[in-house]
């Protein structure tokens, strides 16, 4: 085998091995959805300072399902999942740089509502943010 061919084979093997390692890391860190009924709480913080609390009982495995069942959110489908535009009847005005963000028990959440696995007792806060 020529040196060039050997280098190509080695580089492709390294690429595939690295991809496999990353896939492994993903599945180790991935939260597994659980079936059955869960009680979660959603707190909504509006721009005018009002705060509402919504207790939700659901069999959904992901946050999106629970929120849509409760009629709490609407949004547009994007490449990374649902982009939430409306929460509790208020649609964020993008021309004013408004956007809805959410946290779990005050902690940053790095997944879209589609892929956020919910568990019994979870508390989520949706806050209308202004400015990017």
């Amino acid at each position: 085998m020529s040196k060039t061919k050997r280098n190509i084979v080695i580089s492709v093997i390294c690429l595939i091995a690295l991809a496999a390692v990353l896939a492994g890391v993903y599945f180790v860190f991935l939260d597994s959805p659980s079936s059955g009924e869960k009680d979660i709480t959603v707190e909504v913080y509006h721009k005018d300072g009002t705060e509402k609390t919504f207790p939700i009982s659901t069999n959904a495995e992901f946050l999106r399902g629970a929120l849509e069942e409760a009629g709490l959110i609407e949004g547009t489908e994007g490449t990374y999942g649902l982009w939430v535009t409306t929460v509790d009847g208020y649609t964020a005005d993008e021309s004013k740089n408004e956007w809805w963000g959410y946290t779990k028990s005050g902690e940053y959440v790095d997944t879209a509502v589609d892929s956020t696995v919910i568990a019994d007792g979870d508390v989520y806060e949706f806050t209308l943010n202004v400015g990017w």
Partner: protein, 175 residues
């Protein structure tokens, strides 16, 4: 009218080359926007590799034109600060390997870069929220890194050679 030759002055690049590099940065931006509907599929990586192979470290001009325009379009969020080092890293990797003319190996390098893009993007979150936040951010984006890898591998394998030959000829003709 004769344009001033900036190579004769203190500026390190001829004006013509500076304009071409700026245009390449604009093409990178257009490419990114054109493919924005596909998750993490972008032509920017192979364009940066191509630009670096032809123009050397001057490709950093194109990179930072691209980064600046991206910030002006999408806003200067945390992600934008990662762009300040993440694309320059690809320039330095390409410079280190610039004698390689095996396109398959460049495709593999571009693929590895796509795989590690999320890891490098997670670095600011280490300073914002610690190891847990950074790891969590990185791990949740791994499926998109895998897509990035596949997209980079294919685009570089198919497009790097013709673009490199075209850009080299243009440069040789003084464009």
């Amino acid at each position: 009218m004769n344009l001033p030759s900036m190579s004769a002055g203190k500026f390190p690049l001829p004006l013509r080359e500076l304009v071409v590099l700026s245009l390449l940065g604009a093409i990178m931006t257009a490419g990114q926007i054109g493919f924005a509907f596909l998750p993490n599929i972008e032509p920017v990586s192979f364009l940066i590799i191509c630009c670096t192979l032809v123009y050397g470290r001057a490709a950093l001009y194109s990179v930072y034109v691209f980064v600046l325009i991206e910030g002006l379009i999408y806003g200067f969020g945390v992600w934008w600060f990662t762009y300040l080092y993440i694309w320059a890293l690809l320039v330095f990797v390409t410079l280190a390997m610039r004698n390689c003319r095996t396109w398959f190996i460049w495709a593999a390098i571009s693929g590895v870069y796509g795989l590690l893009f999320g890891f490098f993007s997670a670095l600011p979150y280490f300073f914002i929220g610690g190891v847990h936040m950074a790891l969590s951010y990185w791990a949740s984006g791994i499926p998109f890194d895998l897509l990035h890898c596949a997209g980079n591998f294919v685009s570089t394998l198919c497009l790097l050679k013709p673009c490199y030959l075209l850009l080299s000829r243009l440069k040789a003709h003084g464009v």
